[in-house]
């Protein structure tokens, strides 16, 4: 074997083969790393229409025909949208199994869901049933007389198409 070939083989072992062995180690180590619980997807809301009427934006929320809530998750943060509902911008965080989000009406919202009528969402996801049930409350932090409204949500389509285990 010529000197240049020897150098090539050595460099190949050092820069290609060795890192590939390292990759196997990384993939093994990764099995012990846990990611936040999955809450991404469409959720069917079950909420008492009479109670929710008392909240700011409540009329607009009660008027949604199929009462669904879409959660777009990115790790420990998520964004909530209400398809067919009031135009709310809602960003939240996930700590363990607890979700916290502030639902703020967008600038161009109608009067039924006016600017300033912020809603607060506090919920927890049940790990025991494959994270497909959310239980929580909606409250209005800027409204002293408004009572919290409890709700339950069930995930419409479990994330089967995701990069599962």
């Amino acid at each position: 074997m010529s000197a240049s070939n020897r150098k090539f083989v050595l460099a190949y072992l050092l820069l290609v083969i060795l890192p590939l062995i390292g990759l196997v180690g990384i993939l093994r180590a990764g099995r012990t790393v846990t990611a936040p619980v999955s809450i991404d997807g469409l959720w069917s809301l079950r909420v008492d229409s009479a109670q929710i009427d008392s909240l700011p934006c409540g009329k607009a929320l009660a008027a949604i025909p199929d009462k669904t809530m879409a959660i777009m998750q990115s790790g420990k943060t998520f964004v909530v949208t209400i398809p067919g509902g009031p135009n709310l911008t809602a960003a939240g965080t996930l700590e363990g199994t607890t979700l916290r989000a502030a639902l703020v009406p967008a600038r161009e919202s109608r009067e039924s869901c006016a600017v300033g009528s912020e809603l607060s969402l506090l919920a927890s996801v049940d790990r025991r049933v494959d994270s497909n049930v959310l239980t929580g409350t909606l409250s209005a932090p800027n409204c002293q007389s408004c009572a919290s409204v409890g709700f339950q949500a069930e995930r419409q389509a479990p994330p089967t198409s995701k990069g599962g285990h």
Partner: protein, 435 residues
């Protein structure tokens, strides 16, 4: 039925913004594709949706996006056929030690570093429905890709295609693309056939059979097309339609086999005969409409899915910076070290590393697949799109700084490789708009 007025309005606005931004970027010595990628992001929620949500909702109502996506995907299917057409598998067999080492290191270094980064990012930007292995493998594949067509464009514009740097870079990019797509195909199979071991083996067996049929059956038909071209100097419309049908059928087969449409069209391009005049003839018929009309739609659709607003707070921007650092360190650093160890002067090796760090449109294609199969989250998608933009944007100025003409010219080789000729042929007629 699509609202035709909305669709045509969308296409008009997208084309106008992409052409304008592309031309503006050309003034700053950037490839047009960088400007078009940037234009796509400007049209999305990151800028237009943020400045004027009402106009954005009027121009891109959610119900209309399916049609825009369908059109853009047709464009990417044809584009991947053209990318495959520009790659010459025979050339890859006869590489120098330098090209072999650089191409393999430029895949393994970013791949391993990305997997290491995945250990940190997985608990932060992913969720439990994605396994760590799939997440890490996807991150690795996404970071190790090189944009073969953008690289060819930069080399042609800088008149570097015939330098040693140019020939090694183009051969390495071709290897990277083929390897990257094979790894990605494997990941997609793993993800789509999750929980079902038998299904994985059936899919892998089906893919193997399909590749064998393509290489030993369809390729024979294609050689007949090449012979017809050599005899008459042209190919009839019927035969061109047949070629397009084969490309689409190949795409449908790979989609049906559980990988993705794009692998089929890429493979179809890769097995095409590689006689430069024949390649040029085919490209002339497909390239203009794909690159000027359909690809900008893909950039816009990618931009509509990219929301920089999701990167809230310094922590998310820190993750984004880390991704850019790791992607650049792995690709640029790994290729530079490999080139230097292969006997290249350090500056030339660094130039090679800079070129290999170009990701461009290929990265966007991979990221869109990742978001579709939900192996990456929307925020991570946005970070990776920014990384693709940043690494592509930095190539030209960094290359001008590291490898000025006086360094490259003495290294001019007498005969460029066939890959370089093909890549050059692929990009010459597009007026700088090739992605």
């Amino acid at each position: 039925m699509p609202n035709l007025f909305t669709l045509v309005l969308q296409i008009t606005v997208i084309l106008a913004v992409c052409r304008l931004t592309g031309s503006l970027f050309r003034k700053f010595h950037q490839p047009r594709v960088v400007g078009e990628m940037f234009a796509g992001i400007m049209l999305g929620p990151s800028l237009l949706g943020w400045i004027s949500p009402q106009f954005s909702a009027y121009l891109f109502p959610p119900a209309s996006l399916g049609f825009l996506n369908a059109l853009s995907q047709v464009g990417v299917v044809i584009f991947m056929f053209l990318v495959g057409l520009g790659i010459n598998p025979k050339e890859l067999k006869h590489q120098s030690h330098a090209a072999v080492l650089v191409s393999h290191v430029s895949i393994t270094a970013p791949f391993v570093l990305a997997s290491l980064l995945a250990l940190y990012l997985y608990p932060r930007v992913s969720d439990a429905s994605v396994s760590f292995t799939n997440f890490a493998l996807f991150m690795g594949a996404a970071m190790s890709i090189t944009a073969f067509p953008v690289l060819a464009r930069i080399l042609i514009e800088g008149e570097m295609m015939q330098t040693r740097l140019g020939t090694v870079a183009i051969a390495c990019a071709a290897v990277d693309d083929v390897t990257g797509w094979c790894i990605l195909a494997y990941i997609v199979v793993l993800i789509r056939a999750a929980h079902d071991t038998a299904s994985i083996w059936i899919t892998l067996g089906g893919i193997l059979l399909f590749v064998v049929i393509m290489i030993y059956g369809v390729r024979f038909l294609l050689q007949g097309l090449e012979r017809t071209f050599q005899r008459y100097g042209e190919i009839s419309e019927n035969r061109m339609a047949f070629l397009l049908l084969l490309a689409l059928a190949s795409a449908l087969c790979t989609e049906r086999l559980g990988i993705h449409l794009l692998f089929g069209s890429f493979l179809m391009g890769a097995i095409m005969p590689k006689e430069p005049k024949f390649v040029r003839y085919i490209l002339d018929r497909f390239e203009t409409i794909t690159i000027t009309l359909l690809l900008p739609l893909f950039f816009a659709f990618t931009g509509l899915r990219t929301n920089v607003g999701l990167l809230k707070g310094p922590t998310m921007w820190f993750y984004c910076g880390l991704i850019i650092l790791v992607a650049t360190g792995g690709k640029l650093g790994g290729s530079t070290i490999a080139g230097w160890l292969s006997g290249m002067p350090l500056r030339e090796a660094a130039g090679l590393g800079t070129l290999m760090n170009t990701r461009g449109l290929m990265e966007l294609v991979i990221l869109n697949i990742g978001l579709d199969i939900k192996v990456i989250s929307p925020a991570l998608f946005s970070m990776m799109v920014l990384m693709a933009l940043f690494t592509t944007f930095m190539t030209t100025p960094l290359l001008d700084y590291i490898c000025p003409d006086r360094i490259l010219r003495p290294e001019l080789t007498k005969i460029p490789s066939q890959d370089a000729q093909l890549a050059g042929s692929m990009m010459k007629s597009t007026g700088g708009s090739a992605a």
